[in-house]
Amino acid sequence: MSAGLMDWAGLMWMLMRALMQALVGWSDALLVALLVLPVLAMLLGFALGGRAAERIALWTLPLGLAVALAIGALVLHQGMPLEYAMGGWAPPLGVALRVDGLSAALLLTTALVITGVGLYARADFATPSGVAETRASLAFWTLLLGLWAALNAVFIGRDLFNLYVAIELLTFTAVPLVCLKGSPENLQAALRYLLFALLGSVLYLLGVALLYGAYGTLDIAQLAAAVRGSAEPAALVAVVLMTAGLLAKTALVPLHLWLPPAHAGAPAAASAVLSALVVKGSFYLIFKLWLDLLPPQYGQQIAQGLGALGALAILFGGVLAIRQTRLKMLIAYSTLAQLGYLFLVFPLVLSPVTLLAATGEGTPPAWTGGVLQLVSHAFAKASMFMGAGLIAIAMGHDRIGELGGLVRVLPVTLTAFALAGLSLMGLPPSGGFAAKWLLLRAGLETGQWWWMLVILGGGVLTGTYLYRVLAVAGFSGGESAPRPLQPVARSRELIVLGLALVSLLLGLLPLSSFEVLKIGREGDETAAVEALTQPAITGAVWP
């Protein structure tokens, strides 16, 4: 038996190698496909309209997922980032794209979440028979594709103006998703979101102007080298302005006012992409600005400030989530709090202790922790919002106090909710646990105990608001089991469960496997390659 197995494995191995060899030749086309595929699908869907839009979108899901997988495999296989200059014009004159380990992970996260959302949304946004076209379905499918293209562009861009166009694309797809239902409350929420986002983009653009004026290039890598060469005051002012703008788009406290009504009021499938992915797009740019563009010693005081805002978001969002009476509002406030953790990365990575220690060693644990938080929250939150959508269909409402007996109506959905909750709380075994554990470790190593208190306090708050839901929904069912108002397809429940499981499974991977995220980070190339070639078990968090 073992010999047969060996042959089989050997065959698979050779097939994989051949596939990889073939992929290497296609790497440029794959990079371009990340942008072209969803945009072309969007254009065709809009032109043909009606059912065609939905059909095209659904066909694009597996194709886009395959492209993201192939890109990830290529980056992993080559152990170095993929780069591409559009039109053959190299920066600074032209615009280049780049996929490193982190981008590849985010592209894959995006593809998986959007695939889940697309399959889930079929039931909500199908065009009913006898009708040629409905507004909501045409808008939803085309906007979903546009949003995918925008996110891909954000994650692979390395030209600051090109990234500006990408985040604007993201805004113009996200805002209409908020008010797809068209009620005055939705329109109000969308308008508020749009105004915050527009202030954000114009501040970002101002920073772009200053950086170009000071250095004559918009390419992030070239700018980083130039800033290291000569530190103009304009550079810091520009990055601060851009960060302020991006914070408004990421909804960090105190620029958070727009988020809860927008994310809670949108249709469930839209809420899922908004909370899981859209706010991460602008966060990713902040991450790039402070950790890739500026030299680390620039940002230490401001990093403490960003950390403080993050801490405020964790505590404030947590307390407000506890006080919500509607499930979707609770989940939206939870997003506010979970985004806060991402900002703890800045003081932890940019602390003098880390910087001294990292000179030879590469990327600090807080960096990995932040990325892991971003990814696991994406899966967990997509699952929760879509779960809440199913709950609202089955129960006819989403008032938390009246969810009694939900466990008998939608057991799978409630299980998914609990599993995703583990990740948000940071309990093992989950991606959220690994993330928060790494952040705690970084707090300990850098002697910044105050952030550790915030992380632990945030976990308690998260536990409290999730317990409120689970206690009512899971245990106080009463004798007579409630009946669902409308049946919920089992397949939709399984999508919700699947996303929650991904968020959980991220925590079961050995820590050293996250070294692949660091492919293409300066000074980390060798570390990443070594990690790949070793059987990686040693770094596991738990036995």
Binding site: E168, F172, S183
Partner: protein
Amino acid sequence: MSQITLYGLLGSALVGLGLYGLIVSADALRKLLAFNLLGSGVFLLFGVIARRGAGAGFSGDPIPQALVITGLVVAFAATALAVGLLVRLGETAGLEDVDDAPASPRSAAPEDAPGSAGGPQ
């Protein structure tokens, strides 16, 4: 004072003015105008930077000039979306205020099912 200094000051002043309007205006349409004013200040700074980079026979660095053209189209798109939202909001709010409107067009907003998608049932 040179031309570049003058327009640099103008661009900065417009950015400040737009920011002020964006913060203090209570009315969303006025906020939108303030946003466009702020945007034009930013574009002018691009213009100043382009002018500083004049050379090679060009009256300005063509790269920032081209960026402004792209930026203007994006600003138009943003304004279009905001105007659409504003007008729709005005209509729905207007209908809410006027009680004698024969039927509410808000049928797509079932009160108690925020999770279910609007539109097709």
